[in-house]
């Protein structure tokens, strides 16, 4: 009876971890999205080959099911067929990351509508909603670049990019884009946001604010939020992210799990 190790997250990192685990371990990969690939997307060669590699290592994938609780021995998962309890010797959290939120950025001011995480702004654009005609985007990396592209595609007229860390991804040369390096400190407006205030006093007028700066790991499994019994975290925070960083993080997590199980 092989040892099971359960991996939360079927993106490139989680799949790489599953594919790198030694043969005596049976990897089970869980993801709340019904397709593999995470932010990299399901319809890419890298995802297809990562999934194939994981499956050929014997990994079982439970896609479209949400991991909710870990107690060091069993992972509780909810899905369309009900409750799934997965006994496992270890948990790997490879659930990706998200940009910093308002409180994490320390933005003062009221809480008007129209302040969205970049993840949300992108999803909403894809489903037909324009977040703002003159939005401000905070950030200079992957999520900022993606948000800028989605917003322009959805019909934004002018985007002000404010990046505290400088420009990490090249933005398109466009008259519809203004990029500056600055730190946001407060928002203004109500009922919808009307301006972003920067350190030094400058005001950037905007009709939406997209938060695309920094990366925080996503952790939603109770019992494994900041630390967990027999838990390894594999959430690379490179910005821009790269396929190789994801693969390395996955492989490193697999090695850590192997060490943990050998030491037990």
């Amino acid at each position: 009876m092989p040892d099971t190790v359960v991996v939360v997250g079927a993106g490139l990192t989680g799949l790489a971890c599953a594919a790198s685990l030694p043969g005596r371990i049976r990897p089970v990969v869980v993801d709340r999205i019904p397709v593999p690939g995470g932010v990299h997307g399901w319809d890419t060669d890298e995802t297809r080959s990562a999934e194939a590699a994981a499956r050929s290592r014997g990994a079982i994938l439970h896609l479209g099911e949400t991991a909710t609780r870990w107690d060091g021995e069993e992972l509780l998962v909810m899905g369309q067929d009900g409750v799934r309890r997965i006994p496992a010797r270890a948990l790997v959290v490879a659930a990706g990351s998200r940009p910093l939120g308002r409180a994490e950025l320390g933005l003062a001011g009221p809480r008007p509508a129209g302040i969205l995480a970049a993840t949300v702004a992108c999803h909403l654009s894809e489903t037909g909603l324009l977040a703002g005609r003159r939005p401000a985007v905070v950030g200079g990396g992957d999520w900022a670049a993606r948000a800028v592209a989605e917003l322009l595609h959805a019909g934004a007229e002018h985007i002000q990019v404010v990046t505290p860390d400088g420009v990490l991804r090249r933005f398109p040369e466009s008259p519809a884009l203004t990029v500056r390096t600055a730190t946001p400190v407060a928002v203004e407006g109500g009922p919808r946001v009307s301006a972003l205030r920067l350190q030094g006093g400058e005001r950037v007028e905007c009709d939406a604010l997209v938060l695309a700066h920094g990366l925080v790991p996503l952790r939603n499994v109770d019992g494994a939020v900041w630390e967990g019994a027999r838990t390894v975290y594999a959430q690379p925070a490179d910005d821009p992210a790269t396929v190789s960083a994801a693969r390395q993080a996955g492989a490193a997590a697999a090695a850590e799990v192997e060490q943990m199980l050998d030491a037990a």
């Binding site: 709340r32 949400t66 909710t68 509780l76 909810m78 899905g79 369309q80 067929d81 009900g82 409750v83 998200r98 940009p99 939120g101 308002r102 409180a103 994490e104 320390g106 003062a108 001011g109 009221p110 809480r111 008007p112 509508a113 129209g114 969205l116 995480a117 993840t119 949300v120 999803h123 909403l124 654009s125 489903t127 037909g128 909603l129 324009l130 977040a131 703002g132 005609r133 595609h153 959805a154 019909g155 400190v185 109500g190 009922p191 919808r192 009709d207 939406a208 996503l218 952790r219 939603n220 109770d222 939020v225 900041w226």
Partner: protein, 480 residues
């Protein structure tokens, strides 16, 4: 929603006090309406507080506030069970960090006992036994075991929901613009959505109560916003708490508390700064830093990295605290105003008191409604549920987790939309289910949640509101 109708009692204000009164009156045969300026009940101080239902230990003895809060205290278990509202009587530790604090503890114990509340003076070590997260520098503390934590959003909505199911009409997005008067009596309430005739009016308008009295030609009094700023911290930290932890209250303010919530997130606050604009809900860095430092002095394990959200809310301060009486000039206008700090804690007994005042004034509130519901059907939640298989067997939608941070499922969301007072905005759904209110603040689920809101409310996505109708999620449809 057409505003025309005739009611025996019109309650102005759909906060925790107004909705508690609505519930109480819904057990009678009186025709009752609530008019609320905002788009939902519980949009003022009722949704921005620390969620403590105090047993009354630190109220000033002999005051009406002390009487009504202590009278409310024993009934919380039964009340919250009937309103499907989370509640736990976990107790408070008031921790003394300095000599001055320690000197004040004796007075705190006396005050508690004068109010009929159990209170024990404990050593620093004993305080840490009761709550291991309390700082090693704590010199002593007072333990008040009868204090509890309650979900104040669910409480307000629960009061309103039961009232609505019993026939109370809720007019939302209906700020009061004036009153009709005949002789010395108010006869009708004008709102932005229409006019309704009223046999009696209850003024539970929170920060706006002074203005309501003025519009009605009632006695002049002042209400102003007393702003509190708060931090909300991760469930992972709040889940480790056993007690509410606070400092030692003084005459001006109860001080900063560290409060585990009923879903085990952690609230820090509030501050107490008088403001002029009731809509001023801006947080500022220096005030928030002050709160964080005060909290960390009590519980060193608290760190900025645990923060999910910061917010501000305005409590209704007034020149008279607990103005519960018929107006001196308008005999059919009953005030339930100046409930500054203990709206949640006093709401059950305040509602009873207003019922008595209405009866004394001649309102038809004495006959019992034979078929009134006494309790709401509980809607089970997945988060922390001991038997998830049972949930799924009852409703397959428990298998679809929509908000992963708070583990809110499609079953709970559907349940919220099936209420008599369903959500009309994303924030309305958050108040009823906690969806989008967790550690990622909707970064992962807001798109999906807003899609569900859009479907259930039959609103185009670009018209969907995050809160008030003008606080739309987006600005328009995307280019095709």
């Amino acid at each position: 929603m057409s505003g025309d109708g005739a009611f025996d009692v019109v309650i102005v204000g759909g906060g925790v006090v107004g909705c508690a009164i609505a519930r109480r009156l819904s057990f009678t045969t009186a025709r009752v309406a609530v008019v609320e300026a905002a788009h939902d009940v519980g949009e003022g101080a009722s949704k921005g507080n620390t969620g403590i239902a105090t047993c009354g230990a630190d109220c000033t003895p002999g005051t009406l506030e002390a009487e009504l809060v202590t009278r409310s205290a024993p009934g919380w278990e039964a009340l919250c069970a009937s309103l499907d509202t989370p509640w736990e009587r976990i107790g408070t530790l008031c921790v003394a960090l300095t000599e001055d604090d320690e000197a004040a503890l004796g007075h705190l114990v006396e005050q508690a006992r004068a109010n009929g509340c159990e209170a024990e003076l404990v050593s620093g070590d004993r305080a840490r036994e009761l709550e291991p997260l309390v700082t090693g520098s704590a010199r002593a503390a007072v333990h008040i075991p009868a204090d509890g934590i309650v979900d104040s959003l669910r409480l307000t909505i629960g009061y309103a929901e039961l009232a609505a199911r019993n026939g109370v009409r809720f007019f939302l997005s209906s700020p009061v613009t004036g009153f009709e008067v005949d002789g010395e009596r108010v006869t009708a309430v004008h709102t932005a959505t229409g006019t309704i005739s009223a046999g009696f009016v209850v003024n539970a308008a929170g920060v706006g109560a002074g203005q309501v009295s003025a519009l009605a030609g009632g006695e002049p009094f002042r209400c102003w916003p007393r702003q509190g700023q708060y931090w909300l911290l991760d469930r992972e930290l709040g889940g480790r708490f056993r007690k509410v932890v606070g400092g030692v209250p003084n005459e001006r303010t109860r001080g900063i508390y560290c409060v585990p919530t009923t879903n085990r997130s952690l609230l820090l606050g509030p501050t107490a700064d008088d403001r002029e604009d009731p809509d001023d809900r801006a947080v500022s860095r220096d005030v928030l830093e002050h709160v964080l430092e005060a909290a960390r002095r009590l519980v060193p394990a608290i760190r900025r990295e645990h923060a999910i959200k910061t917010f501000a809310a305005n409590r209704p301060a007034s020149d008279t605290t607990y103005r519960l009486e018929a107006d001196g000039w308008r005999p059919n206008l009953i005030h339930a105003a100046g409930i500054r700090s203990t709206g949640v804690s006093g709401s059950p007994a305040i509602a009873e008191q207003v019922h008595e005042l209405l009866a004394e004034a001649g309102a038809p509130v004495l006959d019992e409604h034979p078929r009134a519901l006494a309790a709401l059907e509980p809607l089970p939640r997945l988060l922390h549920h001991p038997r998830p298989e049972e949930l799924f067997a009852a409703d397959r939608r428990y298998g679809q987790v929509v908000c992963a941070c708070e583990q809110v499922t499609a079953a709970e969301i559907a349940g919220a939309f099936a209420m008599a007072l369903p959500p009309r905005s994303v924030d309305g759904l958050r108040k009823r289910t906690r969806a989008t209110g967790g550690r990622c603040q909707g970064a992962v689920c807001l798109a999906g949640v807003s899609f569900l809101c859009s479907l259930h409310t039959a609103t185009a996505p670009w018209l969907l509101a995050q809160s008030e109708p003008t606080a739309t999620l987006g600005v328009g449809p995307a280019d095709a």
